[in-house]
């Protein structure tokens, strides 16, 4: 079973989001997502200062199997992107909730992070997908 930290919020498109003390929201992809994608060979991080709407495709991860869009879980401005992923895309595989983070967003309304799923709900969703 993949790891699901309870302090994070989750999007149905398999991103996680965390509201940090500085008010910014850090975003990455879940352990389940990295496992499904397999070994990453390339990460296209979002452009800095880009205005994103929740649900916008704003980054790309590419593995030996597939290329996949990463969607902004909240609306706001991208203020930081994980530059290490350019040379070390494997960080998303080895540490999806830590060094493998993808971007940080200054949200229009940080409280909207609460509208994303809890770890429990996301786990539920994964179980339902599994039953298909």
């Amino acid at each position: 079973m993949s790891e699901l930290p309870t302090e994070l919020r989750y999007a149905s498109s398999h991103e996680w989001a965390r509201l940090d003390d500085d008010g910014l929201i850090t975003v990455g992809i879940t352990d389940h997502a990295q496992e499904a994608l397999g070994d990453l060979v390339f990460v296209e991080t979002p452009s800095l200062d880009a205005d994103v709407e929740a649900g916008d495709a704003c980054a790309v991860v590419e593995s030996v199997k597939a290329a996949s869009d990463i969607y902004a879980p909240v609306s706001g401005v991208v203020v930081d992107a994980n530059g290490r992923l350019t040379d070390e895309p494997e960080l998303v595989n080895t540490d999806p909730y830590g060094d493998g983070w993808i971007m940080r967003i200054k949200a229009e309304d940080p409280d909207l992070i609460e509208e994303l799923m809890s770890a429990e709900d996301y786990e539920h969703m994964l179980a339902e997908e599994e039953d298909d």
Binding site: V41, V64, A66, A67, S68
Partner: protein
């Protein structure tokens, strides 16, 4: 089988093709000195026999339709009849210079013109141009024509192309290359495009939609007429990706479904050599609205005389896509194939392609493999998912694909379409026998047994090929394709 060295590493300085024959010293007397090479070109210095052995050995390691079942989904790896090859290589065709005047190319021009007409008949479109050199170029031409059409009408607000999420990756790439923004459409539970999402996406920004029918999910888009009406009402046009035309050849026509422009991969449906990056042919057909925008040159006919249509005949054309008129040899092979089949034969192609796919799907399902759309009849291809095997045994689609190579089968398309986890997209084509299909099912069953008994065996496959499992991550990250001499 041993690892072969690169041909560059097999040479010795000064070694030549004809070892014992006296070397002719080239007479360069009438060339100006500045045009002469100062150093010999950096080519392998090997004997003729070394070169022959090297490339023969490499060819023996290859998987090809002439040696193996090749069920690569959405690629239509069918047998290419030898007759097409030998007729395309008649001296009159082979030695025709592309700049030869039309008066000396009447035979070739007649073949091109007749193939254009046959493709119109089989697709229900008004006119065809055979100039695109590959499928991707055909796609590019089609979407460029949609763009030119809206521009010619002064309709500059149409900036979006709709593409279903099951589409080939080339579709969104083409739309972007032509300057459009891509809007993705979701698929419903039965594998059709989500009609509600289509209605919501359509509007004054819609330039068109790109569809493959049957889709890459291996099912026929059943509400295509309704979709065409909706797109047309919104002012958009419909582009048909011909990748899967084999399934409906002679049975139903994209023109009748409402498509305005289509490309056909002659190297798939019309059985010309395929794979390895070319040469291909992405013939492009258009209905009345887009006809004038077709790329030139096309073959035209004035009475008994054939000639090339140019800018003068087609002032609205999107222009030329290559120096000449497409891949002549490929076009000729497709022409011979189409003439051999005739209208009756084309129907049988579609029927047998579909029958083979459904037979293979039913047998795999009976053996307990998970068919992704069990409620739907397959078109010419279908999807199985190895999600359960991956979860329970740790043996996924890639492992099974690699192990199939050990059994002498080229792997089906793996991990595409992206919507289906751990999937194999399987397209047997009409040219395989029932015995061959049964052999493939036996191999799949045997591999699953191996996966239960000894998963590491399958995870480590292939075992019987010249090279073992390749490091795909490293291959993608550290591209090294160019040989350079040691300093």
């Amino acid at each position: 089988m041993r690892q072969d060295r690169l041909i560059f590493d097999q040479g010795r300085p000064g070694r030549r093709a004809q070892v014992q024959a006296p070397a002719a010293s080239p007479d360069t007397g009438d060339l100006p000195p500045e045009a002469l090479r100062r150093q010999p070109p950096c080519l392998p210095e090997v004997s003729e026999l070394q070169a022959v052995r090297h490339y023969t050995r490499l060819s023996q390691k290859n998987f090809s339709i002439d040696t193996q079942f090749y069920p690569l989904g959405s690629c239509t790896m069918k047998y290419n009849p030898r007759a097409s090859n030998s007729l395309a290589m008649l001296p009159g065709f082979l030695q025709r210079h592309p700049w030869a005047p039309a008066a000396q190319s009447q035979g070739f021009l007649a073949c091109v013109q007749e193939l254009q007409e046959m493709l119109c008949t089989v697709t229900g479109l008004a006119e065809f141009s055979l100039t695109p050199m590959a499928g991707a170029q055909g796609e590019f031409a089609g979407v460029a024509m949609i763009r030119a059409y809206h521009q010619a009408r002064g309709d500059s607000e149409r900036t979006e192309i709709l593409v279903p999420d099951a589409a080939h990756g080339t579709n969104p790439a083409t739309a972007v290359m032509c300057g459009f923004t891509v809007r993705e459409l979701p698929t419903d539970a039965d594998g059709d495009v989500d009609m509600q999402a289509l209605r919501e996406a359509l509007g004054p920004k819609t330039a068109g939609i790109m569809l493959t029918n049957p889709s890459t999910l291996g099912v026929f888009e059943r509400r295509i007429r309704e979709m065409a009406d909706l797109v047309h009402e919104a002012g958009g046009l419909l582009y048909y990706d011909g990748a899967n035309l084999n399934a409906i050849l002679g049975k139903s026509r994209p023109g009748d479904m409402g498509f305005d422009v289509i490309h056909i991969n002659l190297h798939k449906t019309f059985s010309t050599p395929h794979g390895g990056g070319g040469p291909g042919a992405g013939a492009i057909g258009a209905g009345e609205r887009l006809q004038g925008f077709l790329p030139i040159p096309m073959a035209g006919r004035d009475g008994d005389h054939y000639r090339w249509l140019t800018e003068t005949d087609r002032p609205q054309s999107i222009g030329r896509l290559s120096a000449f008129m497409g891949n002549a040899g490929v076009i000729l092979r497709a022409y011979v194939y189409a003439r051999m089949l005739g209208a009756e034969g084309m129907v049988r192609v579609a029927e047998f392609a579909t029958l083979n796919a459904n037979y293979l799907m039913s047998r795999l399902r009976a053996e307990g493999f998970q068919v992704w759309f069990p409620q739907r009849r397959a078109s010419h291809e279908f999807i199985i998912s190895l999600k359960r095997e991956s979860r329970d045994l740790g043996v996924g689609a890639m492992d099974v694909a690699k192990r199939l190579l050990d059994y002498g089968y080229h792997a089906p398309t793996a991990y595409f379409p992206l919507l289906v986890p751990e999937c194999l997209l399987i397209e047997p084509t009409e040219t395989e026998t029932r015995e061959e299909l049964d052999g493939f099912v036996d191999a799949m069953v045997a591999i699953r047994q191996e996966a239960r008994r000894d998963p590491e065996l399958v995870q480590g496959a292939p075992h019987r090929l010249p090279v073992r499992r390749l490091d795909e991550v490293r291959a993608a990250r550290e591209l090294d394709l160019r040989w350079t001499p040691d300093a």
